[in-house]
């Protein structure tokens, strides 16, 4: 195994689970996420000379997976897309994706959700998140703030109610 292949193998082993979780959390479907993430890793391998020098290779994989999903979504007919939504709802059962947290997350606008995925789930800093999304750091902060406010609105009251009993 060449050095590049060995590096990729190490990256793949260490990054598969977190990348898949992040994409699944965003899409709501483990089945779809699994295919999208596999495709993203395949593309990462095909261009490992470039991806290995990326400042945040996991973010590259997640963004590529999410973009591939958006593209696939676009290609589908409306009927198929609606069917896929049903599949997504069904295959979230029992994976942990059917919790209030992920339900609330998927209610966010796509850009806010992407910020949460990169900033919170992949733990990128604001500047790296901004570079990944091609937007200004201030815009990342704004999206993050709005997303957290929305999530707080959905999640924190329930927590307070529970602890207040």
């Amino acid at each position: 195994m060449s050095q590049g292949n060995a590096e990729f193998a190490e990256f793949f082993a260490a990054s598969w689970d977190p990348c898949l979780r992040a994409v699944a959390a965003s899409t709501g479907s483990m089945t779809l996420a699994e295919d999208q993430v596999a495709e993203a890793f395949a593309r990462a391998w095909a261009s490992w000379h470039k991806v290995s020098h990326h400042p945040a290779p996991r973010a590259w994989v997640v963004r590529t997976a999410l973009n591939a999903g958006a593209s696939a979504w676009h290609r589908r007919s409306k009927e198929t897309a609606l069917a896929s939504q049903d599949i997504a709802a069904a295959d979230s059962q029992g994976t942990g994706l059917d919790t209030a947290v992920f339900t609330a997350l998927r209610r966010l606008p796509a850009r806010q959700r992407e910020v949460i995925v990169l900033r919170v789930f992949l733990d990128l800093d604001i500047d790296t998140t901004a570079r990944q999304l091609g937007i200004a750091p201030g815009t990342v902060r704004a999206h993050l703030s709005r997303a957290m406010t929305a999530l707080r609105g959905e999640l924190v009251p329930a927590t307070i109610t529970e602890t207040g009993r």
């Binding site: 598969w16 898949l20 942990g96």
Partner: protein, 232 residues
């Protein structure tokens, strides 16, 4: 998280992270399955084959099929791993981008084919007032603007979905070009370029989009960005 954020954010962030950690994931696929799939991408890139139906979308969007068919024999070709430039006796030049390219090398090669160009990666250049549309002038024969909404889905977050004014945005979807998997082709007619203008070719990795436009040589500005701006 910083001091500007809501005091509940730390707890909320922890809750999000904890929830994510609890998500059950299926077993990782064998590495060989991933590299096998990756080899398909490499082969497509190296062979320059349009291996997916979606790749045909690029050709359709540019309307190039007839142009290539009508082009006379090539008179000179520069071929690198990243791009191929071929001059034709009718004065047009075909450019095929097959992988992430060296902008300086491409710019020099274009100059050798008589095309004044500014090639950038991750930087958008424009003139104010804007130079004439390269499509209307016939600088990019056979090309047509991307229909409204085409790149909205292809490149999420790119803009308002109305197309980029006076530019040709190849609707390169991530499935085709992430990173730069399938080749992109265009025909350039340098004779149609007005005096004092040059061709701007920009590649934006994040949104995997190639933008082609005219700019004024002596009056343009460039700004680093990972995605081209929306229409003015």
């Amino acid at each position: 998280m910083n001091q500007d954020e809501h005091p509940d954010d730390s707890a909320l962030t922890a809750e999000l992270v904890d929830s994510l950690a609890e998500v059950a994931v299926p077993e990782r696929p064998p590495l060989a399955a991933i590299t096998g799939r990756g080899r398909v991408h490499r082969r497509r890139r190296l062979a320059g084959l349009a291996g997916t139906g979606a790749a045909a979308l690029i050709v359709l969007a540019l309307g190039l099929a007839g142009v290539f068919g009508a082009a006379p024999g090539g008179t000179g070709t520069i071929q690198t791993a990243a791009f191929t430039l071929t001059s034709y006796t009718n004065g047009t030049v075909s450019l095929t981008l097959s992988q992430l390219f060296d902008p300086v090398a491409l710019q020099r090669a274009l100059a050798r084919h008589g095309i004044r160009a500014l090639v950038k990666i991750g930087s958008y250049c424009s003139s104010s007032p804007a130079a004439p549309s390269p499509i209307r002038l016939g600088v990019l024969p056979g090309a047509s603007p991307v229909p409204a909404g085409t790149h909205r889905r292809a490149t999420p977050g790119l803009g308002n979905g109305q197309g980029i004014w006076q530019t040709v945005t190849l609707p390169v979807k991530p499935s085709q070009l992430a990173p730069m998997v399938d080749p992109i082709s265009m025909v350039i007619n340098p004779a149609a370029m007005p005096s004092g203008t040059e061709l701007f070719i920009g590649y934006f990795d994040l949104v995997q989009t190639v933008v082609v436009n005219l700019i004024y040589t002596g009056s343009h500005t460039c700004s680093n960005t990972q995605q081209p701006p929306g229409p003015p």
